[in-house]
Point group: C3
Chain length 355, copies 3
């Protein structure tokens, strides 16, 4: 759906950029440095790619203010990363969609679908659900009884929102994600694990994004909460009664166990695990595969299993590599020391002879 | 769907509890200590939360026998954890459902659906499938050819049961779970990986629970088996020909590779991995993120990668933290020893002079 | 759907095997050594199972050339692993299916479905999608706008292929897999994470297999690519702009972060994590749960977090087990050395007396 093209002058205006070069030149798309052709504009955000920019066949460039001498007209921007987003959106505006309920969708009589919302083919919307203005439910989504979906929210195919889940505005939920499955709570009664009823809910605040096949369980009581602006990748597990603070990032395959609380601006890299009933303060950053068994103070960067402050974890990792050698050195020390002791005894013997 | 309310006398009868306080007092719901209001009953199961109980605004309490002086009428129970489950079920009885096949479901002519079972909107039931009494298939589930589903079993939306999968009674399968996908079996023929046909099945015994987006592969030959009473969390992977013993617990994102066998009452914490062809004895407990490469004897608690008995693993983790310091100490020892040796040589030289 | 039976003579012809025994004997199925009955043929591929073969009740055996003295007629094959695949396929030929679009499927008017393809109940095929000859779309799959699906490809229930995904020939995509969800790309603008538009695609080449509930994200620009012959297990995460080389194997719950490149014949065992912008050379093999932070040269086997060459990683793991003991030995050395030094000083004192 790329637009026919823009002149560099139009782009400079739209991006509030300073143009070095011909404002009448037309570009028809945006592409990375190695893929862009003469009709396309490319971008140099990270100065490490300067060589690639010099070799690029792109017809024009987006670059930070002060970065010059590129092989084509250049749009200089104060915040090039943000300008690149704007640039891509100009060429790839959000796909328009037709409001209304597809005739093959199954919508309960007592559900409320805003007339500006869209419900795709073979989607199911159960009783008392409320679908807000401009929301878009793709094909084959499941929206359970009493679910609330805010304005402009998008549900991709095969999403499941179980009963009572409440989703804010401008939320994006990718295909196959499941919100509101029962929390994993059982109590052994001496002969079997008895299920603890999970009667709480799930609350997703505004501007959250949730990845494909990610699972967010309902609370035992109260709500599992993901606060506004937080972005969650694919195949992430969020246990019951967890609360994730605002503007956090949870990368793919991370998992947060029941009742844990993440502060604002927390980052969990891929495959990180957080134990249950753990609190991570604001701004905690956990490196890939970290295993976090206990509370972490705000602002701390951690790594490893068990997770430790990153400087310490790195020192341990470096030292580990020398561990086999260390064993040998200790063995050598022991032998050496034994020899010295024997020698000292012998000398002492001689000394004794002297006595 | 909370009920209007119960008197404390009614609850004492239902829970076989001893009531300390007014039996006529009415409570309309159950909530945790910090959230309960004067119309609600709360609970103190774990004595560590006594301070929270003393500060609670709850109108009544459920507590162990012998725990007194709470700020409201108290139901004393011998097994408070089990009584809490009963209490919650009184206020939140299982949602009733209407038996019958939704008119938008697609059920093969030669499938058998018990008249007391329910098949939701846009569910698909293929030929020769058998759906038992009181089973509930939510919207958009897929039940493959010849699948058998026992009495009272619940399939949440977007569950996939491939051909021939057999599911017992009172099983709960959460949204998006996939049972019966092909096991991961290939044989390299010198130029490509050739698929080993996966002609076995999957058997899920009674009272099993399977989490959202969990995958349980069919066997190459024979069956992949999950024995009765076992509870599996979200995003868990069970490979082909695995057998999981009774009353085990597999926490989120754990994975069990092909042909491994877990005994009865095994616990795998979150993100644990079990290699293929491994046997874990009855009652083995593996801590979060453990990687289990080989057999583990019954009753052993393990931790770490590679998994080791928990006491040893903890000693290693503690020692690891001191590893960088240890390197320095060994370096110091080596220097010190060298100095001593030099001194000893010098002394020996003097001794020589004496000779 | 097992066939009625074959004579051993027929099987010898079909498998180009040398038969030791009665060519007229009929077998009706194939089963493992411990499960096979007198009407079934079993197999001995790995010589370690010879005892099981000797104890087997199987009516006939498939075995490597030169392996004799089994308790029944034996088909000797040069490549028994491949012959076993052929044998199983003889008894379990691929299920035939009826071409055509199920009347409950929702196929856009401008989609193209080859007349020899099958589209199952309640599947959705969006506009401009192209479904190749002999392709099979099971019930409830979602095929987005402009998606291309090659000849003989199979999509199991609840698969999601988002807009523009291109899938080659003879590809198998298991239930619940999601291809083409947005890559996880955000840029913090000082107050919120702004979404980087993901306008690229996903390309799956011929003969790839993709596991249940696996997720493969679309590229930011260009394509995320899985090259031909590669097999991917369940619950695997492939980030945006990743390229996986030919004939690679990615075992369950492995994850590859954005923009990383895997060579040809790479193997990632279960729960392995690969960081972003990392290159793994041809033939790299990563052991279970390895965490790979940086480039790995072709042909290297790695293990551990951070991943190290397997011999080194194993030495470290062995040494780790001795780390607590090592701490004690170093403490003993320090004490011992201190005693020696004291003694040497004392001796020197005595020596002084001598002076």
């Amino acid at each position: 759906m790329a637009k026919a093209g823009f002149t560099l002058g139009e782009l400079a205006d739209a991006l509030q950029a300073e143009l070095e070069g011909d404002p009448g030149r037309v570009v028809t798309g945006v592409a990375p440095l190695d893929a862009a052709g003469p009709d396309q504009i490319s971008f140099l955000i990270d100065p490490r790619y300067r060589d690639a920019a010099l070799a690029s066949r792109a017809g024009a460039f987006l670059a930070p203010a002060g970065v010059g001498d590129l092989p084509g007209p250049t749009l200089h921007c104060a915040t090039p990363q943000q300008a690149l987003i704007d640039l891509v959106l100009l060429f790839h505006p959000r796909t328009p969609f037709r409001a209304g309920v597809d005739k093959t969708a199954v919508v309960a009589a007592d559900a409320t679908v805003d007339p500006t919302a869209a419900v795709g083919p073979l989607a199911v919307v159960e009783g008392r659900a409320v679908i807000g203005p401009g929301a878009r439910l793709h094909a084959l989504v499941y929206v359970g009884p009493g679910v609330q979906i805010g304005e402009g929210t998008v549900l991709y195919p095969h999403v499941t929102l179980r009963e009572g889940v409440r989703v804010g505005r401008r939320v994006v939920i990718h295909a196959g994600a499941v919100l509101g499955a029962d929390g994993f709570g059982f109590a052994f009664d001496g002969s079997a694990h008895r299920k603890v009823p999970q009667v709480g809910g799930v609350v997703i605040e505004d501007d959250v994004e949730i990845g494909a096949n990610t699972t967010i369980d309902r609370a035992t009581f109260g709500d599992t909460i993901v606060r506004r602006g937080t972005k969650i990748d694919n195949l992430v597990q969020i246990g019951h009664n967890v609360e994730i603070g605002e503007h956090s990032l949870l990368v793919a395959q991370a998992g947060v166990s029941g009742s844990s609380r993440l502060g604002r601006g927390v980052v969990l890299a891929g495959q990180v695990g957080v134990a249950d009933h753990v609190t991570l303060g604001d701004g905690v950053v956990a490196g890939a595969q970290a295993g976090i068994p206990s509370n972490v103070e705000a602002g701390t960067r951690v790594l490893g299993t068990p997770a430790r402050p990153v400087a310490q974890a790195r020192r341990i990792m470096v030292a580990e590599a020398r561990l086999p050698e260390l064993l040998q050195r200790v063995r050598a020390l022991e032998r050496r020391l034994e020899q010295l002791a024997v020698r000292l005894d012998a000398d002492a013997g001689k000394g004794g002879e002297r006595g």
